[in-house]
Amino acid sequence: MELYRLTAHEAHDKLVKKEISSVELTEALYKRIEETEPKVKAYVTLDKENALAQAAAVDAAIAAGKEIAPLAGVPGAIKDNISTKGLRTTCSSKMLANMVPIYDAHVIKKLRQAETIFLGKTNMDEFAMGSTTETSFFGPTHNPWNLELIPGGSSGGSAAAVAAGEALWSLGSDTGGSIRQPASFNGCVGIKPTYGRVSRYGCVAFASSLDQIGPITRDVTDAALVLNCISGKDAMDATSLDVPVPDFTKALVADVKGLRIGLPAEFYGEGTARVVKDELDKAVEIYKKLGAEIVPVSLPHTKYAVITYYIIAPAEASANLARFDGVRYGYRSQQATSAPEMTTQSRTEGFGLEVRRRIMLGTYVLSSGYYDAYYKKAMQVRTLICQDYAEAFKKCDVLLTPTSPVPAYKIDSQMDPLSIYMLDVTTIPVNMAGLPGISLPCGFADGLPIGMQLIGRALDEATVLRAAYTFEQATEFHKVYAKLGGKD
């Protein structure tokens, strides 16, 4: 098998057994990137020199007989909204096209300690605002399963890189589905951890109360390994939770006997495509056979999730993106003749359409006289959504839903923004409630991967991982590779 097809844990085993070296592995990845990247365009920036130096260091450690961490020497990719010291971090925006951070995000520090390899930074929707990776200043990423299709988003580059064999694992960020939906469109596994499980320090904020960093991988085991590495309280993030982090690999047990899986009726309604429903139905049958108990549940406020999300997230974004004023870093318009004009012009020229749209939306809903009607109301609805989940989890241990109501669709499909927003109905409520959610492959439709989502109780990533692992062990979907428009 080609080295670029390995999972992270397989690569680790081969490194430890000295069947391969990290330099060999890393070079194989860059060779693959060279071949496939013109078609996929998953990366914004590559960092070959540093990656190979790091790989050599790991090889030296192995040669010296040192024990290495599970991700040591295993090449991955980082979404370009996660701050990497000395390595350009653009958020796929003209605003930050030349921005080289002076500090590492908390997760990057942790991964560096684990001696992992960063191949480069992956493409995304500008400032993570989008579900298609089309709003990137650097142009769209293409779905490796069908190059005419979107890879999903906003972590489209991270998912496409993993699917295309351009990285063994990657980090994404998820505000309303930005890890899970692209994972599903690319046949990958993606986890959005419980809000506060992973430090947000160094993740360029979109919507602070919703953002979480998480892994996109080729199987559930890798997801658990990456999650192990990045989880835990960080003194630099006041919202990170000071709770013990279990060893998530301990949850990788193929057993769902007696596990109560809830099927929320609201996620299987009219908006969900037939092909998606069919694959989910089959998945339910598999779980039944594996001994799980299927429980019908209801999450009645699901229908308000998207509209309230599009109040809360833009409101927070309008403030979070205020720091991009052309004063200290980033794009500065040369047209301006005064400081206020400099800020206005820099923002007008530096931000793309979707980002400006959301800043306007957020500014509007926070404005004097509208705050109560929009923001405050949305926060109240958010509480109701949380209560829905609390009620549902009295009857079941995990919830099973489609990750996206539709499979990947065409690039430049000219959909209106609202229709695209509505497609996030399956993932958004999970962010609103701060719960852990995983997407994993559960079938194919017309050669395109379909993903299913498992949602767990707060801080119960373990149960979600166990349910996902059990399904994965019983199926072969994760072993199918994307063809990149050719025969591979």
Binding site: N81, I82, S83, T89, C91, L96, M99, P101, I102, Y103, A105, R200, Y201, G202, C203, V204, A205, A207, S208, S209, A235, M236, D237, A238, T239, A315, E316, S318, A319, L321, A322, R323, F324, D325, V327, R328, Y329, A339, P340, T343, T363, L366, S367, S368, Y371, Y375
Partner: protein, 480 residues
């Protein structure tokens, strides 16, 4: 002519004396090279997050309790959104609808009248950076640079009720507030360095009116003097408008200290919509009773209590005691000196007289006064014991200012001991009587003043060392 009532409310920003900033671990030191106390957090780098410095809450709580406020055990931070180059994140982390405390007060005393001034609320927030212009003013500059050293330094904003009715009351309120903040050691209260800043909301209304007039908010009041002058100016300005049949416009004005006028900055229509919303990067603050009670129990003696003690224990007049306690450093100096002085009132008189005059002339605070409290006490004791006349004491004091030393040693070194030997003085007295027959005749003719001339002659002869009391006594005896 209509008579008007002035209505004043003050918004005071006090920088807290924490070692590090409110939301990062950068130093709060003042006067360092630009942009040397900065990090990704306080310069608003992409992805950086704030983490609350607990000491900020501790200090705010201390001020809140000292100002008799009701503590909100649950309080939270909000974002106040506006663009300005010195505001790194494009929003200020502040507290909007649930501040740390509300409903406090300060008792002030103006010309013997006690008055209670309400405090609406105190909230915690962060300071912004500072613009440095290449030219003299922003409009004449080719460019401006930003110094973020101050960005993120913690502040408390203390908002008063519109309870003050004159510039004097506003001044008394500010002085009391400053003293309390100094006593609680939460702010160093240096108005010229900007660690204590004041904005005034000023309006006037005709006597008998039920509703307040339209107010103007005056910014840039960097001294007590500026506060008083700005209020006086603004009240006159508003009176003139009303007398001319006009309406006062609600607006923000700035005090121009050089020209002694307030100038319009922006009207109500141009006012910012700050779009406050809860700060999602910070968790709400939950204060428990144990924390509040510990801070309460650790509060130092506050100015009011200290004034009462000085009156009771040392017999100082209310006014003098009030003057002394208005500065914590002055009161500390007094207590230190009074500990060894035989005449505490004498210490107070020196402090409020010669010492204050010297400090004012040097433009320094008592913190920088070189004479040790024990030495001032010794000087007072030398007077009390009759060793020094008050005139000689002033001479010794003059020497102390040059070099702090034991006044006793100085007196010996300079040979300034007062002569209280009756024989020696009697000789001088007789000499003077003989040499000034006209003055003697005047005195005997009922001109009491004439004795002063004779005393003066004797003192001169003794080079100031004769005990003036004794001189008087002997003179009177001789001239009877």
């Amino acid at each position: 002519m209509t008579r008007y009532i002035t209505v004043i409310g003050l918004e005071v920003h006090a920088e807290l004396k924490t070692k590090t900033k409110a939301f990062c671990s950068c130093s709060t030191a003042f006067g360092s090279r630009p942009n040397t106390h900065v990090c990704p957090v306080c310069t608003g780098m992409p992805g950086a997050l704030p983490v609350l410095n607990k000491q900020v809450v501790e200090f705010a709580l201390r001020a809140a309790l000292a100002l008799n406020c009701r503590i909100n055990k649950f309080n939270k931070f909000d974002r106040k959104n506006y663009f300005y180059p010195d505001l790194a994140k494009g929003y200020q982390i502040s507290q909007f609808d649930q501040p740390i405390c509300e409903h406090g007060y300060i008792d002030i005393n103006v010309e013997g009248e006690e008055k209670r001034i309400g405090i609406t609320r105190i909230h915690m927030e962060e300071d912004a950076g500072k613009l440095v212009h290449s030219g003299a003013t922003i409009s004449t500059s080719d460019f401006s640079a930003v110094d973020y050293n101050r960005a993120g330094v913690p502040l408390i904003e203390i908002v008063s009720e519109p309870d003050m009715r004159s510039a004097e009351e506003a001044r008394a309120y500010m002085e009391s507030l400053k003293a309390i903040l100094e006593y609680t050691d939460v702010c160093d209260c240096k108005m010229q360095e900007g660690s204590l800043r004041c904005d005034a909301n000023i309006s006037i209304m005709p006597v008998g009116a039920k509703e307040f007039g339209t107010r103007a908010e005056i910014k840039n009041l960097n001294s007590f003097r500026a506060l008083v002058r700005a209020i006086e100016y603004e009240v006159e300005r508003q009176k003139e408008i009303l007398e001319d049949g006009g309406h006062v416009v609600q607006e923000t004005r700035t005090w121009d200290d050089v020209n002694g006028v307030t100038l319009s900055m922006r009207s109500k229509e141009e006012a910012h919509d700050y779009r406050y919303f809860p700060e999602p990067d910070l968790v709400p603050i939950q204060l428990d009773d144990a924390w509040i009670e510990r801070v309460r129990s650790e509060l130092p003696e506050l100015p009011g209590a200290r004034q009462a003690r000085l009156v009771k224990s040392f017999g100082l007049p209310e006014y003098d005691a009030g003057q002394i306690v208005s500065s914590k450093a002055m009161a500390d100096y007094f207590d230190a000196a009074a500990a060894t002085a035989k005449d505490a009132k004498g210490v107070a008189n020196w402090l409020l007289g010669d010492v204050s005059a010297f400090l004012n002339s040097e433009n320094i605070g008592i913190e920088d006064f070189k004479v040790a409290p024990a030495h001032l006490a010794e000087l007072v004791n030398l007077i009390k014991d009759g060793v020094l006349s008050s005139k000689l004491a002033k001479k010794v004091f003059g020497e102390l200012l040059k070099e702090d030393a034991s006044p006793k040693a100085l007196v010996e070194k300079l040979g300034l001991q007062q002569v209280s030997d009756e024989g020696a003085i009697a000789a001088l007295v007789d000499e003077a009587i003989a040499a000034n027959p006209q003055s003697v005749a005047d005195y005997k003719a009922g001109k009491d003043k004439a004795i002063g001339f004779l005393v003066g002659q004797i003192m001169k002869k003794s080079r100031g060392k004769a005990n003036p009391g004794l001189v008087q006594k002997l003179l009177k005896e001789r001239l009877q």
